[in-house]
């Protein structure tokens, strides 16, 4: 939230009468779009008083499709001569961002530039957004809006005959372990249950993909990737029998806890779901093969 509208502040500011022109202390984490290095102001960007100049000459944007939680999306562009800053924000958002203009490019030496690194709220609703960019010239002259349409695409879960998914809510290193019907454990140390020595000899080069495959070791070694999601997927058919799913709290990476969810989907139908919380005490259990605490067990019927 922004600067506290305390009655004390109001009283004292009036008494001293020197509080005008201050920038608020606000991280802007409630905004749907955030600009790295920008100054956040509350208010609607499309309601700022507008003038004809300065204008945004052009905006360079690679992709019009974004996903919730996307980080470091780059946009850049050029501004009319005399511009000193650029205002960026979603139409209708809780606030907007001010970013100082940069030096002109060599090929257009009179036009200031801007380079913005955007990130988006993980709770971004799936719809289309109007990203507004406006050039600013002193004193507080906001030029006409340049519009960039951005569509939010859902984060797609992997598809397959059998999908076992683990996802969690903090930047911790949790590991998914799945023991299949043959007793083979799939985890970060054995990402594919397919055993070429046990399989029938074949000339099919793609036979390895018949196993259950771990798609990603998220936040491995506390190198945070932001996914917080791991899946083991049997793309064609899963062996019939009993499965066991374990969750290993490899490290909380400095977080106090991580709330996790495990779910198994057979051809899109849930076979079971479990939720739990990883605490610092969960880190002391053994790691590697056989590690983790049992979270879910289910049976895949013969197909």
């Amino acid at each position: 939230m922004g600067c506290r509208p305390d009655i004390w502040l109001l009283f004292l500011s009036l008494a001293i009468a020197t509080c005008s022109g201050e920038a608020p202390c606000d991280t802007g984490l409630e905004a749907l779009v955030r600009v790295a290095g920008g100054q956040f102001y509350r208010g609607s960007i499309d309601k700022l008083a507008s003038s004809d100049v300065p204008a945004v000459v052009d905006v360079l944007n690679s992709q019009d499709v974004i996903t919730p939680g996307l980080q470091n999306k780059q946009i850049s562009g050029r501004l009319d001569p005399g511009s000193t800053a650029v205002v960026i924000g979603f139409a209708g958002d809780v606030g907007y961002w001010i970013l100082a203009a940069g030096v002109p490019d060599a090929d257009s030496p009179t036009q200031p530039t801007f380079h913005a690194s955007l990130s988006f709220s993980p709770s971004l609703p799936q719809t289309s957004y109007d990203l507004i960019v406006r050039a600013v010239a002193p004193p507080n002259s906001f030029g006409p809006a340049a519009h960039v349409a951005l569509d939010v695409a859902p984060i797609l879960l992997p598809t397959g005959a059998l999908v076992v998914s683990l996802w969690w809510d903090t930047e911790a290193d949790l590991d998914l372990h799945v023991v299949d019907a043959y007793g083979v454990e799939i985890w970060a140390g054995n990402i594919n249950s397919f055993d070429p020595y046990a399989a029938t000899p074949t000339t099919d080069a793609g036979v390895w993909s018949q196993g259950g495959i771990l798609d990603f070791d998220s936040n491995s070694g506390c190198v945070i990737d932001g996914r917080c999601n791991e899946n083991v997927v049997w793309s064609v058919v899963a062996p019939a029998g009993d499965y066991v799913v374990r969750v290993d709290t490899f490290s909380l990476c400095g977080n106090s806890a991580a709330r996790w969810t495990v779910e198994a989907l057979l051809n899109g139908v849930s076979l079971g779901r479990a939720e739990g919380e990883a605490l610092p005490s969960s880190q002391r259990f053994s790691k590697g093969k056989g590690g983790g605490l049992e979270a879910l067990s289910f049976t895949v019927p013969p197909q």
């Binding site: 600067c3 201050e22 650029v86 001010i98």
Partner: protein, 431 residues
């Protein structure tokens, strides 16, 4: 370093010599600062005299414009500062045996969560006589520079020191050796210290280089007329700062999804070559300052106090915006000053106002789209303080700080003040 100190010392001596005839009455010769508050309990065992005491400062932050109910995106620590906290809780023991004196002081606070640590630990040899004192000490000692750094926390009328004092001296104690002499109204102090005081942003209470900081103050302290007390001095610091080196790094393969299609393409893969380790480097730093304080009593009203301090420095900011000329490629010159006044209205209440200015980089500049222009990065603070209990050590203090800075960005991209006014209520007791 020596010519620096000697010149300042000579200037101080000349100043004092000129003003000596005006001194009607010299104050009792006391080492600076006072070794222990009067309220300390004392116990004599054999030849040893023990003194035990302390003080507590408990704060209620009623308003802080910079406070937010969020965690810091970088460090993860809470950004809310509107809270109850223990600012300082000190407990000390002092032992005196003949010429020897030893003191240990602990500080407990909740400024950044619960913390308990050493605040002072000194071993001193000295003799106190009516008009002539000397003392040499070793340990964790108060830094002999200026006025605010040497004030005992409960004696300071305002809640905290000014910006320049807190920036250049993030802590008032450092490890080292100190000699101090007082003769009649003359006060002289000199210390050799590590240069990384408690509160240092990089290496608090450590010393990453062998070079030491040399600090000194030459001043006077006297009662020049009935109920008029004057103190003044010049201070200097010459030292060596430390720029940390970097370890060697490995080659790293980086994928930058430039067209944002989520697919790895050869043109999007970059190799960031590893880099050999870089050595740590030392750099020189200094500060000179002058300070003055006048205290007097207005009949039927109460005590009054005026004070001021000015400091010039280079590469010495260790707290607010730590100076590193190796990283910045140029020396960072600091300049700041503070003036203040306080007036008692009977022994029940007192009102004070203080203005302080601090520029951590006098030569700062910023790049606009087409020009490189000078940038004012100074901090300016108005402080208004209401003390219930006058100038006494046991009192209730309400303080409003109006802060101006250049940490925010205005709508046109120019620097602007980032709102950070505060209103704090403090209860303080010395025991």
């Amino acid at each position: 370093m020596k010519p620096h100190i000697i010149l300042l010392s000579l200037a101080g001596v000349l100043l004092l010599g000129a003003g000596q005839t005006a001194l009607a009455e010299e104050a009792p010769a006391q080492p600076e600062p006072a070794p222990a508050p009067n309220s300390a309990g004392r116990l004599t065992v054999g030849e040893t005299t023990l003194a035990v005491g302390g003080f507590l400062q408990a704060d209620t932050v009623l308003l802080d414009q910079s406070s937010q109910d969020q965690l810091s995106p970088s460090g993860g620590e809470p950004l809310n500062t509107e809270r109850f906290l223990i600012r300082r809780g000190h407990l000390f023991v002092e032992a005196q045996r003949n010429l020897l004196r030893a003191a240990v002081e602990l500080d407990a606070n909740t400024v950044k969560g619960m913390a308990v640590g050493l605040a002072r630990a000194e071993l001193a040899l000295g003799r106190a006589r009516p008009r002539w004192n000397w003392e040499i000490g070793l340990g964790l000692l108060r830094i002999p520079f200026g006025l605010e750094v040497q004030q005992w926390d409960p004696d300071r009328f305002f809640l905290e020191r000014s910006n320049i004092s807190r920036a250049l001296f993030p802590g008032t104690f450092d490890l080292g050796a100190r000699a101090q002499v007082s003769w009649r109204f003359v006060r002289a102090q000199f210390a050799v210290m590590n240069g990384n005081p408690l509160g240092d942003a990089s290496f608090p209470a450590h010393d990453p280089n062998a070079a030491k900081d040399f600090v000194g103050r030459l001043g006077m302290d006297s009662t020049i007329a009935a109920k008029v007390h004057v103190s003044a001095g010049v201070s200097s610091l010459k030292g060596t700062g430390f720029h940390p080196g970097t370890p060697a790094t490995k080659d790293v393969l980086v994928w930058r999804d430039q067209n944002e299609d989520g697919i790895v393409q050869l043109s999007e893969i970059q190799v960031i070559p590893g880099r050999a380790a870089t050595p740590s480097q030392n750099f020189s730093r200094f500060a000179v300052g002058a300070d003055g304080r006048v205290g007097f009593t207005i009949p039927c009203l109460g005590n009054s106090m005026l004070f001021g301090e000015v400091i010039w420095g280079a590469n010495l900011d260790r707290g607010l915006q730590p100076a590193d000329p190796i990283s910045s490629g140029r020396d960072l010159r600091e300049f700041g000053w503070v003036v203040g006044a306080a007036q008692e209205f009977t022994s029940w209440a007192a009102l004070g106002v203080r203005y302080d200015f601090y520029n951590p980089d006098v030569d700062a500049y910023r790049q606009t789209p087409t020009l490189l222009v000078p940038r004012d990065v100074s901090f300016r603070t108005w402080t208004f303080t209401l003390s219930f209990g006058g100038f006494a050590r046991n009192r209730l203090i309400l303080e409003y700080q109006h802060n101006r800075n250049a940490l925010g960005v205005a709508a046109d991209g120019s620097p602007a003040t980032l709102a950070s006014d505060t209103l704090i209520l403090r209860g303080q007791m010395v025991f």
